[in-house]
């Protein structure tokens, strides 16, 4: 083996060893967070426990104490709603959700896909919001934080001014739910309820109105924000599921990149319909003649 070859082999070993060590740490952390969810019967219980651990947390902290989440961000990976977590643990799904996942995978394999939420620019809703692509902006203020996404122009408002959720008798289903939170140092802890029954994604199970979530958002390095997420929904999960999602800051040195409004009717060439088989197809294009339509 040449010197260059030995150097490359050493570099590969060092890189992969550190990657494996980091992965071991990630798995252990994932397992701890997953088990934290299991200790609490409801999302509300978990949120209350986190608030207690944070000595009540902070409501409407001064601007100077808030983290800098400015810039534009993109989803950059993490775990999923239905696949195994980093520790090899799979979500325990209800029979209905397990059937829906199986059927969804068969449809995907057959190339039969239609997006009930997004194809007509309907809202992705929450928690699907966590995984959708395209630009995001996070606007942090003392009394509320806006977590916005370019995809169909949505904004999640997280109230951190100490207000509570509406009383149970006045709650009604919302695409993004009702979210409130507190600050634990540089971490934003969020509880969300009042979610709507709808598909969690293409060819994926339906969440129920019983779904509630807890999130912890934190900037973990200069270019990365991580969200730890616990999902409670007995219609989908037999026990709470835990996942992490990461968001990477986008390079935008000349500030030319911006978030803009979406509308599916802006360009008629983007209009699609659901085929009788359940797939997706474009409607007539403006650029073709009758013979080509």
């Amino acid at each position: 083996m040449t010197c260059l070859g030995k150097f490359c082999a050493l570099l590969l070993i060092l890189t992969t060893s550190s990657a494996v060590a980091a992965q071991d740490q990630t798995q252990a952390q994932w397992q701890r967070m997953f088990e934290l969810g299991l200790k609490h019967r409801t999302a509300s219980d978990l949120y209350t426990a986190l608030k207690s651990d944070a000595h009540g947390g902070q409501q409407s902290p001064p601007f100077a104490q808030l983290p800098d989440w400015s810039g534009l961000w993109l989803a950059s990976g993490g775990s999923s709603f239905f696949d195994r977590g980093p520790g090899g643990v799979s979500p325990k799904l209800s029979p209905a959700a397990a059937d829906a996942v199986k059927k969804g995978r068969e449809l995907e394999a057959a190339g039969i896909t239609y997006d009930e939420n997004l194809s007509d620019c309907g809202p992705p809703g929450f928690p699907r919001w966590l995984i959708i692509p395209f630009l995001r902006e996070f606007i942090v203020r003392p009394e509320q934080t806006w977590l916005s996404s370019e995809t169909v122009n949505n904004v999640r408002r997280i109230y951190t001014d100490g207000r509570g959720h509406p009383p149970p008798e006045d709650r009604y289903p919302l695409y993004y739910g009702d979210s409130l939170g507190f600050w634990d140092g540089q971490k934003l802890v969020i509880h969300t309820n009042q979610l709507m029954k709808r598909s969690m994604g293409r060819n994926q199970p339906e969440q129920s109105e019983q779904m509630e979530t807890v999130e912890i958002w934190e900037k973990i390095d200069r270019r990365t924000i991580e969200a730890k997420v616990w999902i409670y929904d007995p219609a989908v999960y037999l026990e709470p599921w835990y996942l992490t999602r990461r968001y990477m800051q986008v390079d935008n040195p000349d500030k030319s990149l911006r978030m803009n409004y979406w509308h599916c009717s802006e360009n008629p060439n983007n209009q699609v319909y659901k085929t009788p088989e359940g797939g997706t197809q474009y409607r007539d294009f403006t650029f073709t003649n009758k013979e080509n339509r």
Binding site: Y114, L118, V250, R258, F287
Partner: protein, 133 residues
């Protein structure tokens, strides 16, 4: 050695996972991702729109007739990140363009690559997407 293999596998899985994140506003099942077509023509219009953009290219057929082809890409924010701006494809620009054609035979394709008349190359889905074809 098993740890090394596992590490390499891990990175491959992570890369695939990141690629899968990029789902558009609708499914792309109307395009045949196993096929590519490459056509030469001139730009008729660059529809720089959300949630998808379309580069319309007039292609002269063997019999002398002209067919307008539409090449679909993501919306402006994605194209901006790929260094593709509205001014890059004015009317009449000569272009050699590659895409995954529509399964139903209409003159449309998922835009993968374009080589402008001056030799500049554009990858609206990222260069990795082109290399994986």
């Amino acid at each position: 050695m098993n740890r090394i293999r596992f590490g390499i596998l891990l990175w491959v899985v992570l890369l695939v996972a990141v690629a899968l994140v990029a789902e558009a506003h609708h499914a792309s099942v109307m395009f045949d991702s196993t096929k590519e077509i490459t056509l030469e023509g001139t730009v008729k219009e660059f529809q720089y729109t959300n949630p998808h953009s379309w580069l319309l290219v007039d292609v002269t057929n063997k019999d002398g007739s002209v067919t307008t082809w539409g090449f679909e890409a993501e919306g402006p924010s994605t194209l901006m990140q790929r260094k593709i701006r509205p001014s890059d494809f004015p009317f009449g620009t000569k272009v050699t363009i590659t895409g995954n054609p529509m399964k139903d035979g209409r003159p449309g394709a998922a835009w993968v690559k374009a080589v402008r008349g001056d030799g500049k190359v554009f990858y609206p889905r990222g260069q990795a997407s082109q290399q994986s074809q």
